[in-house]
C-alpha cells in the first residue's frame, strides 16, 4: 500500500470531519491508516488524548477483530464500538486501508453518531478516491 495526499485533500478531509462530526458535539476524530499512521486528527479543543498511541492501538485492535471475524466465517463486523462511563469510541472502516476513529460523550446518541459517521465516510471516500 502506498499513497499520498496533497494539501487540498487534507484540507477537504478536515472540513468534512469538522463540519460533519466535531461541530455536532463529537469530542475527537482521528482518521488513520491500517498501519497506525495518523492522517487527520481533530478535536473540540478540550481533549488531551495521546492520539499516536490511540492510533497504533486502534489499528491493531481493528486488525485483531477482523481476523476474529474471518475465523468465524464473517468478512468483518460492521459495528465496532466501545462504551465507557463518560467517553465512547466508535470505529468505522473507510475503504480497504483506512479507519475513522470517533470519540464522543453521553450527549451524542450512538444511532445519531452512526448516521453522521456513515455520511462522513461517504464524503471521505470521494476525497480519497480523487487522488487516483
Amino acid at each position: 500500500m502506498s499513497y499520498t495526499f496533497d494539501h487540498k485533500q487534507l484540507d477537504a478531509l478536515e472540513e468534512v470531519l469538522q463540519q460533519g462530526l466535531i461541530d455536532l458535539g463529537v469530542h475527537c476524530v482521528v482518521l488513520i491508516d491500517m498501519s497506525g499512521n495518523i492522517i487527520v486528527n481533530l478535536d473540540n479543543g478540550r481533549m488531551k488524548h495521546d492520539v499516536y498511541s490511540l492510533a497504533a492501538l486502534a489499528a491493531g485492535n481493528f486488525g485483531a477483530v477482523s481476523t476474529m471475524a474471518k475465523i468465524i466465517g464473517e468478512d468483518e463486523f460492521s459495528l465496532l464500538f466501545h462504551k465507557g462511563k463518560k467517553e465512547n469510541i466508535h470505529f468505522s472502516k473507510v475503504m480497504k486501508d483506512f479507519l475513522l476513529v470517533t470519540i464522543f460523550g453521553k450527549d451524542v446518541s450512538l444511532g445519531f453518531l452512526r448516521l453522521k459517521v456513515t455520511e462522513a465516510v461517504e464524503e471521505i471516500k470521494k476525497i480519497l478516491q480523487s487522488q487516483q
Binding site: 500500500m1 502506498s2 499520498t4 495526499f5 496533497d6 494539501h7 487534507l10 484540507d11 491508516d33 491500517m34 498501519s35 497506525g36 499512521n37 495518523i38 492522517i39 495521546d50 499516536y52 498511541s53 497504533a56 492501538l57 489499528a59 491493531g60 486488525g63 485483531a64 481476523t67
Partner: protein
Amino acid sequence: MAFINVKRKEVQVKIVYYGPGRGGKTTNLEYIYNKFNDRIQTEMVAIKTHGDRTLFFDFMPFDMGQIKGYDVKIQLYTVPGQVKYDATRRLVLRGVDGIVFVADSLAVRREKNIHSLKNLQDNLATYSKSIHKIPLVMQYNKRDLSKQGIPVLSQDTLEKDLNSRLKAPSFLASALEGKNVAATMKKIIVMVMVSLQKELQ
C-alpha cells in the same frame, strides 16, 4: 509505509523490533524509553500477559526532530516473540518501514533465532515485501551473559546463521545494560530515512 503529511509537515515512520521470544525486544524499548525520556511525550504502551510476556505489541512514539523542515515521528513497535502469536506478529508488521531483528545470543536459542528470521521473511512476504529489500539491522543481544560464564554464540556463528545472505549491519548488544541499544536504533532510523528519500525522488 511511512506517511508524509504535507499540511502538518510531519513524517510518520514505523520501525518494528522482531525476533524470538524472550530475546530482549521489549527491553530494547524500555531502555530507549528511560534513556530518551525528554523526546518521548507519552507513556510506553505495552500489552502484556499476566506472566509479563508481550501479548500484542509494545508501542512508543519517538520525536526525532526535523529533517528538511519536516517533523519526524518514529513509531517503535515490538512483536510478541512466542511462536503461537504469529497472527499478531503479522498484524504489527503491516506498513512497516524498517526492522530490527533482535537475536538471542544464548547458545541454546540458536534454532529459535533461525526460525524467527524465517518467520519474519514469510510474514513480510504476505505484504509483498522482501526481507532483502527492507531496511534491516541485526542485533545480537544478551552479550552480557558471557561474563557470567553462560555459553553464548560467537559473533561469527550468529553472522553465519542469520546474516550470511542478508548482509545487514549488525551490533553486539546488551539491552539490559544499554550497550549498543541506541546505536542499533540510530542505524535503523538512518537506513529508513535514506530509503524514504530514495522513494520520494
